[in-house]
Subunit: 203 residues, 2 copies
Amino acid sequence: MFSDKEKISRLLSYKNLLYRFKSLGFVRVFSDNLADTLGVSSSLIRKDFSYFGIKGNQRGGYHIDTVIEKIQEIIGFNEAQKVILIGVGHIGKALIQYEGFRNDNIAIVAGFDIDRNKTNEKSNPPILHTEKLGEYISKNKIKVAILAVPGPVSQSVIELLRESKIEGILNFTPLKLKSTDNLVVRNINIKVELANLIYSVKH
Amino acid sequence: MFSDKEKISRLLSYKNLLYRFKSLGFVRVFSDNLADTLGVSSSLIRKDFSYFGIKGNQRGGYHIDTVIEKIQEIIGFNEAQKVILIGVGHIGKALIQYEGFRNDNIAIVAGFDIDRNKTNEKSNPPILHTEKLGEYISKNKIKVAILAVPGPVSQSVIELLRESKIEGILNFTPLKLKSTDNLVVRNINIKVELANLIYSVKH
DNA sequence: TAGATTGTTAATCGATTAACAATC
DNA sequence: TAGATTGTTAATCGATTAACAATC
């Protein structure tokens, strides 16, 4: 029913822009305002809004606060999102410290690592040993995991996550994971991004 | 002339898969072999190869080593790629330590930070103060920069990079940068990826 | 040769844009 | 009301797939 992976990304762009308009004192916006700034057609904005049930008004356009609230609701940012992190290396630490999550109700509620020098049940969030991963997921009904372990370790952790019935993985490992019916994956592969950039610069 | 941003990403998938086939003892592959494993049509593989001038043979398919070499050449991985890193926080450190770059001739030749506690001219790569950024870029003819500074700092650094005539930025800051004629940008926004995942899991 | 695969053209599919009737 | 914008339908554009002639 819904295939376009860019829709949610666009919704977030709209949201960011709406905050900026709001800070300028705007209360309402037209699809043209958003389209001009973002460099897309106003049809796309109206179509996206229409798709997600965001209503406008032929006289006054769209009410900024209403749209922002609706977008938060659509994504799920209106309610607390509990996410776990597997692999507390540099990337993992960067994510734990990232302030931006808090604004949108995303919380990394626990980290996991095989290295017992990194585990610490008292820290915030607690860093637990990987052996506790399965139990933690089922007990706390965790649905989304961020996978930031080194490449060679990833395969075994992925098996474990599948068994634990996790539903979404944000994958930072170089191994490209495929989504299935029960598990949605988004792969972030830095080398691929860099390769694209290097190619573009060359041409 | 060339707009499809997925082409290079696919080329890298092909390359990874070809290495796997090679490790199994294969010398040649057919477009069907690649297509089946990757879940795309064989037409796409042949079209991509054809687009980049990778030739096959109606009898024996494609010669693995030749294709791998050609792909490396197309992306630019056959020659040393000097990249700089701006912002030596957790993400920056993760990138410096990432082994995977070396296999493909990518080298982070210098890091930059405003924090003088982090600068160290003797380390490998050297971490220099941001004030030396512009000079370093022009002196060493750097074309690609990875931007991994905290959100609030990013705007000023971006100005500096533009002035320094950098041609490509891999942007980890939350600020979505737009490409221009002189500057290609790829944005990696972790919150956007996570939002997509949270939405997908909800639906 | 007969069979199978490449390379390419035509068809399809999906996403974005253009156009416009409905309506505030 | 007249004017302007939404919401939606039709047209366009681009990327992927299907089909098939060329050819090894």
